[in-house]
Every structure is written in C-alpha cells, then in structure tokens.
C-alpha cells in the first residue's frame, strides 16, 4: 500500500484547451477519492491516465516510490496491478460470469482449486454465487455491475478505478450498490478512485472529494468540509442544493456569515461591491422575527416542501418547509448561516 500521487498532471489532445491542466493531488493510502465535476471537465481523462490508457503530455503519476507515467514513458496498464469498473461494465460476452471474474487470475497463471476458491469468494461477496455459469447477456444491469465489481475484487489490486459505475442504474439499485462499494472498500483496503457527476454519490461514499472544472482541480477536501466550506462558485453550485446570492458583504467580514449580517446585506440598498454568498436551503427557516419574503413556488417532495422565495431585489432563494405555503403569499423567514464563496 502506498500513496497515489498526481504531480502537475496535464493532458492536451491538441484541440485548444487542454483536457486536463496542471492537476496535483495525493490520494492517501487506502483512501476513497471521488472525482466530481460536470461532464467534459476532464475527470474521466484523469482516471484513464491513472489506468495507463492515456499518457500525460506533462507532469507525472507515481504510486509510492514507483513512477507510473510521465510525458516520456508510461507503464502499460497490464503491468499496473490496478482494476477498473467501466461505465459500460466491459464484461466479455463470450465468457461465463465465473470466467469473467476469474480472468485476471487466469492471466496471472492461477488455476485449479485456488482459482475456483477465489472466484467463489468474489462472487459470494457480490451475492452472485448462483449465477456463476450464466453469460453476461442473461443478467440484469445491476447484476452485470456486480460481476464487474467482483472482477476487480479477485486479484486484490493496489488501486481500483470506478468510471461512473452507477450511471446506468435506476435509483433503487444505486443505493444498494453504494452499500456494496462501501463494503468492498472496507474489505479490500485498496485505494479507490471514483469518477462521478452526481454529488450525492460522491458525498455518500468518499473519504475525500475532488471537484474538477474545465480541466482544473478546483478543490479537494473531505465531504463534510467541502459541503460546509466550498471554495468558489463552481464548487458551491455543484455540492448540495444551495442558492448563490449576490450580496453586498464587506471584504474583511468572516467567510461564515450569521443572520444579523445577512439581514443587513439583504436589506441594504445595494450599493457597494456584491459578493457570492452560498445559502443552504436547510438554513432558511420560517421565523416570526425574520423578514417577509414572497413564495414563488412550492413543490411537494414527499418528506418536505421545497420552496422558492424571492428576495426584495428579486433574487431567488431556495428553502425547505414542513407545510405548504400558497404561491404569491408572503411569510417571514430568517437565514441561520451563509458562506462567502
């Protein structure tokens, strides 16, 4: 076990802006890193460079003391002792489930009883023991996903890469697969890198979240920290369902803003430089002491109502409520905290 280090990693496919630009980060031993960002932000390219399918045009990738790739040389993927769950699962249609799972062992020259035992263990972990002799075509999406995961388990790789593995599954299956990933991570102790554009997946699974935008690494922090203290409008907009308000806040004010400051800022006439302030909906609550805001929309979401409020200067603010408020009506709200981006 060792750290995976990306050092000034850059990939330019030769079409204007580089796909990945100067990304440096260290994944701690046995860590679970979620690479989060909108599509086209370069996260999949980073993953493919770690796997060895793409060679960086600048910078390097090291695993512990071992250099994996730089602009001059690249260790081929088959020599990296990594494993990957592809978005399309990449199961070989001409092999049975057991043969798919056991292929990495077969390549390493393991056969006979050892092979059967290891394949059996891997299939048991993903609860597919009864499907060993079927072909991938006879499985459902979630089952294929678990075969792909079992194939990663079987050789105890140093690094496991997951490329949007839940993108093709329905909501219900996602939850149970997230659980499987967590168990898998705990048991294997492998470093895991998980590419996704879905922030709730990233928050639920990862020990660290790295947000990318336009080829650059914007912020990397543990989930709770990135949620509470995002850097910049990109991260603030991507993580959670907050509203970004433009408010006149003094430069020397603290990043975390309380209700008195926010009330002043919302009530002020609007002169002075406006800054981005992130307000989480759970921090906006009905409060007789608050200021009156008009309700523009009220949507029932099952466990609560999602409200859209309008500030006096017509900026929109998201809030949660436990009862319906008719659209067009005014009610008093206060904001317990905001975060200057």
């Amino acid at each position: 076990m060792a750290q995976l280090i990306l050092n000034h990693l850059t990939k330019d496919f030769g079409g204007g802006r580089p796909a990945v630009s100067d990304v440096s980060l260290t994944v701690r031993e046995g860590g679970f890193l979620a690479l989060l960002g909108p599509s086209g932000c370069g996260k999949t390219t980073v993953l493919r460079m770690i796997a060895g399918f793409e060679q960086p045009t600048d910078g390097s990738i090291d695993y512990g003391e071992r250099r994996l790739s730089d602009a001059a040389r690249a260790l081929p993927p088959e020599k990296r002792n990594m494993a990957m769950v592809f978005q399309s699962y990449a199961l070989w249609p001409h092999m049975t489930v057991a043969e798919n799972v056991g292929y990495p062992l077969k390549v390493r020259g393991i056969s006979g009883e050892t092979w059967r035992r290891k394949v059996g263990e891997a299939l048991a972990l993903v609860k597919l023991t009864d499907y060993a002799e079927r072909r991938p075509a006879a499985l459902s999406g979630g089952q294929r996903q678990r075969v792909a995961l079992a194939r990663c388990l079987v050789t105890s790789p140093d690094v496991v890469l997951l490329d949007e593995p839940l993108a093709n599954l329905d909501q219900h299956l996602r939850k149970s697969m997230e659980e499987t990933f967590r168990i898998f991570h705990e048991r294997s102790g492998a470093t895991m890198i998980y590419v996704t554009h879905d922030q709730s997946e990233a928050m639920a699974l990862a020990t660290d979240v790295a947000v990318m935008s336009e080829g650059r690494l914007v912020q990397m922090a543990p989930p709770a920290e990135i949620y509470a203290r995002p850097e910049g409008a990109v991260v603030g907009g991507l993580i959670g369902r907050g509203s970004i308000l433009k408010l006149p806040v003094a430069e020397h004010a603290p990043r975390a803003l309380g209700w008195p400051r926010l009330r002043d800022a919302i009530g002020s006439a609007g002169d002075g430089l406006r800054r981005d302030v992130l307000v989480r909906p759970e921090h906006v609550r009905l409060d007789a002491e608050g200021i009156p805001l008009e309700v523009k929309a009220c949507v029932y979401e099952g466990e609560r109502f999602a409200l859209t409020l309008v500030l006096p200067d017509s900026q929109a603010l998201k809030a949660y409520g436990d009862r319906a408020i008719p659209v067009g009506q005014k009610a008093n709200f206060s904001i317990s905290s905001g975060w200057r981006l």
Binding site: S24, L25, R66, A74, P77, N81, A83, P104, D208
Partner: protein
C-alpha cells in the same frame, strides 16, 4: 491531504516494483505507446498494404509515363479501334447504369417502404445476380435467347437457325450490365432509405400530404444521395466489367476497353506493356470521372437524419400490393429464373442445337467436366486453392489493419484507409494490368519471375479482395466496446494474450463471414485471372470463358451450373451465420 501545489517536479525514478508478480517487468521501455501493441505491428501492416495497394499503381503510372515519353506506345491513343472501344465503353456503361437504376430503385423502394410480403426472400433472390459471376450470367442469357437456345427449342418458340443472336450487340451488353449491377443500386439506395426518418414521414401524413406527395416531397429528396451513389457504383463497375463484353462482344466484334486490353495482350504478348498501361489508365480515368461526377452531385445533399429512423412499411399499398408483388416476381423470373433454367437446359442437351426432352437429356457434360477434362479439373483445383489461400491469408493483413484503424485515430488510420481504397476503386482489369507490370520482370535478388505462375494471380487476389475481407472485420471492431479490451489490459493480459482471449473470439463470426465472402467471389473471378493465367494455371472463370469461346457451350453451361450451385450453397452458409454477425455484413439483410 490537500492540493499539492508545492510538490516539486522530481526526476523520474524507475524503481523496481515492490510487487513480486510484476517484478520482471520493472523497466519500462522508453516511448512505450499507451496503445500497447507490439512495435513491429504498424510497420508490418504498412508494408503489406504498400505491397498490395500502392506498388501496383506506382508500376502502372511508371509504365504509362515510360510509354508516353518513349513515344512507342502513344500511337495506341490515336487508333480508330481505341476510339471505338472508348465510345462502346461509355455507351454500355451508361446504358447499364440506367437499367440498374430503374430495376434497383424499384426493388429498393418496394422492399424498404411498402408492406409487400416476403421481403427477405426477395432481397436474397435479387442479390443473386451480383453474386453469380458475370461470364455465367452472360452465358445463361445467351442460352436463353437466340436460335440455338435449348429452352426456346424445347418450348418451340426459337427463332429460325441463322437469325442473329440479339444479345451480341451494344444493347445486349448494356442490358446484362444493368442486370448484373442492379443489386449495387439496390444496396446503396436501401442503406439510404433505412436511415430515412419514419417520424418525418408520419409528420408529413399528419400535415395532410397524400402518400404520393410524401414520397415526392419527403422520401425522394432523402433517397437521392443513395440513388446517386448507387448509380455511380453501377457506372464504374460497368466500365471495368470484363466477363459480359467478353462473352457478348468478342463474337460480334464489339470491343470495349477491358476486352481491347485482353485481345492486345493475347495477340501481341508482353511487348505491348506500354500500350496496355495507357489503355488501363483510360479505364481508370473514366472510372475516376464517374466518381468525381458523383461527388459533385452529392455535394450539398448531406441530410443528417434527426429523430427516429427506419422507414419500415411507411406506405401501405392496399389492393395494389398483389400487383406489385407479382411485378417484382416477374422481374426476378426474367433476370434470374429464366436464364438459369436456360443454363441448366443447355447443360443437359447432348449437342449444340438439339432440343431438350426426356429422350435427349443426358448428364454427359457433367461427366466430361468432372471426370474427363483435365483442363476443368485443374481449374477446380486452382480456383479452390487460390480462393481459400486468399480468404485465409488476407485475414493476416485485415485483422491487424482493422485493429489499428480502430484503435489509432489520426494520420495512421487515414493512411491505411487511403491505401485500402486504391485497389477497391480500381477496376479489376486495371489491377491485373498493374500486377503484370509489377511482376513481369524477375523479382530482385531471388531472380525468379512470378509472371505466368499461379502466385501472381494469388497476389492480385490479395489486392483485389482486401476491401471485401476487411469490411466485416472492420464493422465487428467498430461495434465492439473498446473498454472490453481495456478491461483485459487492466486484468494484466498482454497484447497476444488479449488478442487470443478477448478480441479474436469476439470478431470470429465476422472473420468467418469475411472468409466465406472472399472465397465466394474469388472462386468465380474472371477479370483478373483472364489476363494473368497461363497454361496450367487457369481458374474456373477462365475455364468457362475458354469452353464457351471454343464452342463447347454444353460443357461451359454444365460448369456454370456447378458454379451457381456453389454460390447458392455459400450464400446459404452465410445466412445461417447471420445471427452472429455484426449488422451490415450480409448485403441482403437489413
């Protein structure tokens, strides 16, 4: 753990792997490509393609220039015979193209757009004329018409002996070229129609357009590119066709450019290389002009389809359906069933001009070609050897070429694509001349000449059928998810390991189809072998042509019947493979 803004760029440390399993691969070779194929693969493929595709063309151009510069051969361009051949080539190719377009478009529109029954059977039967070699088609039609036709004699409607055979004319050549190449128009148009928007047709109907208006305003404009492309292919194929004008034109003294080259080479020998190089260049120029015209006509007609495609049964014919079905069946009867029946009939009569009935019927011709004639027996051996070697041997080039073209985008893939296009675009007769020019002189170093041996035919077949072989394999690679190979790489499988375990099993059905397709076309090939054969190396195509030329039409017919049976058997074999093949490999399937 945070962003490592301050990490210094360290010098590479190529340390040994801690992991024992991969310890022996500790050092990475400089410049190892992330694609991960062995380093000899690209040079190997490039060398093969250069030898098969570029070298013959270079020799042709060189010989043509040498002929022009020395002035020895330039006279051929001003001879009246050459002018007549050019005129005849243009006339028959254009006439054939028009007939192909009419028949091909009728079948394509009926099969793709209407609710007629038996579409798969109709498509399969309509594709047969393309798969049957042209010399056999020509022979069958000759046996069907004319005063000596056993079929007409048996039916008692033969014209009197001595009256002219109507097919020995420019008109006859055009009709047969039209029949032979109509499937090409059919295929091109069907591919175009398959992409036509079903919801577009439905929207036009809802807008109040009658079926006829929809056809005129929506379907026809969208079908135009396919029709133009099909017409161009039919024209180019007509320019390069040798079998039909050889059987129909040579007896009547009508020569087109391919038969002119053949007769020149046969009568003057190898001294006329400069002349035949120039004549071949003329064919290549006419073919290129046709393709350029097509480009012109196609420009500005790139309609990208948005939304649902697949115009299945967009028009219901109602009470006309039976009429259309009968019409199509009648055409198939005329172009397929009747000529084949005539062919079978003339293979069963004991002698030329005898009517066929239960008393005269005999299998003597089959006995003769299968057991007595050493010429036909060696033709069988030669054609089977050539076709199977070409079919299997080409995979050695086509598989890595298709792999590289799919995995490596950019300059390499483009270069390979252009190289492969060269022999595909050149008519077979031009290719044959190019190979004669390339291999007429003894090979350097070895000092043996391939000219006159079976090996020159084999190399020419490799070149001619490379594109045929490549297409199914290429579409198999295109439809394969690249992550299947990447998953094998991460599993630790090296190049040959993942070729064996993952890639080859997945492209195997397509490779099988490639083998059968090449075998099918190569066993029946005439154009290339007509120029390259010599005593002892004649192919089945040459044998049929020579038997007919020497007046043994019964033996030629019997051999042709066997060829047609073999064609149908191989097509049926392909059909049984159909469910395992990538889409678009079998031309008669959707």
């Amino acid at each position: 753990m945070s962003k490592q803004g301050e990490t210094k760029r360290s010098r590479p440390r190529w340390l040994r792997f801690s992991n024992m399993a991969v310890a022996r691969t500790s050092r990475v070779k400089p410049g190892a490509s992330p694609a991960g194929e062995p380093r000899w693969l690209v040079p190997f493929v490039l060398a093969c393609l250069f030898l098969l595709c570029a070298l013959p063309l270079i020799s042709l151009v060189k010989a043509g220039f040498a002929g022009l510069v020395s002035g020895n051969s330039i006279g051929v361009l001003t001879e009246p015979a050459t002018y007549a051949a050019i005129r005849n080539t243009l006339l028959t190719a254009t006439g054939g193209m028009l007939i192909s377009v009419v028949i091909g478009a009728l079948f394509a529109f009926s099969v793709s757009l209407t609710d007629i029954r038996g579409k798969l059977t109709l498509s399969f039967a309509f594709m047969l004329p393309m798969m049957i070699p042209p010399q056999v088609t020509a022979l069958a039609w000759v046996e069907m018409t004319g005063p000596a036709s056993p079929l007409l004699k048996t039916l008692g409607i033969a014209p009197p002996l001595g009256s002219p055979q109507p097919l020995y004319s420019l008109f006859g050549i055009s009709v047969l070229l039209g029949v032979q190449h109509a499937p090409l128009v059919f295929l091109a148009l069907k591919a175009g129609l398959a992409a036509s928007p079903r919801d577009g047709v439905e929207a036009a109907r809802l807008s109040g357009a009658s079926p006829f208006r929809v056809f005129l305003d929506i379907v026809a404009p969208l079908a135009a590119p396919g029709l133009i492309a099909g017409a161009a292919i039919a024209f180019v194929s007509g320019v390069g066709n040798f079998g039909i004008p050889a059987i129909l034109g040579i007896p009547a003294g009508i020569s087109v450019l391919p038969t002119l080259i053949y007769t020149r080479l046969a009568s003057f020998g190898s001294g006329t290389f400069g002349e035949i190089a120039l004549l071949s260049s003329l064919i290549a120029a006419i073919a290129a002009a046709g393709l350029i015209l097509q480009q012109r006509a196609l420009s500005g007609r790139d309609y990208r389809i948005i939304g649902l495609s697949g115009a299945n049964a967009a028009f219901s014919l109602g009470r006309f359906r039976v009429a259309v079905e009968l019409g199509l069946a009648a055409i198939l009867f005329l172009v397929l069933v009747a000529p084949l029946a005539a062919l079978i009939a003339s293979s069963l009569v004991p002698a030329y001009g005898v009517p066929l009935n239960w008393q005269t019927m005999s299998l003597r011709a089959y006995e003769e070609i299968l057991f007595r004639q050493t010429m036909t027996l060696s033709a069988f051996t030669n054609s089977l050897f050539l076709a199977s070697s070409a079919a299997l041997g080409l995979l050695v080039v086509a598989l890595p070429a298709a792999y590289l073209m799919n995995r490596r985008k950019g300059v390499l893939a483009n270069t390979l694509g252009i190289l492969i296009e060269i022999p595909y675009a050149l008519p077979g007769i031009v290719l044959a001349v190019a190979f004669i020019l390339t291999f007429a002189a003894p090979l350097p170093i070895l000092n043996v000449s391939l000219y006159g041996t079976i090996w020159i035919i084999l190399i020419a077949y490799f070149s001619s059928f490379l594109a045929v072989n490549l297409k199914p394999v290429m579409s198999a690679f295109l439809q394969m998810d690249p992550s299947l190979e990447e998953a094998a790489r991460l599993s630790g499988a090296g190049f040959f390991r993942r070729m064996r375990d993952v890639i080859l099993p997945l492209v195997a059905p397509a490779a099988g189809a490639s083998i059968i397709l090449v075998f099918l076309i190569a066993t029946n090939e005439l154009t290339v072998s007509a120029l390259l054969w010599s005593a002892g190396t004649q192919t089945l195509g040459v044998a049929i042509f020579n038997l007919d030329d020497s007046g043994s039409s019964d033996l030629a017919s019997a051999l042709s019947v066997l060829v047609v049976v073999m064609v149908m058997a191989l097509m049926a074999a392909l059909e049984t493979l159909a469910n395992y093949l990538p889409e678009g490999v079998l031309p008669w399937r959707n």
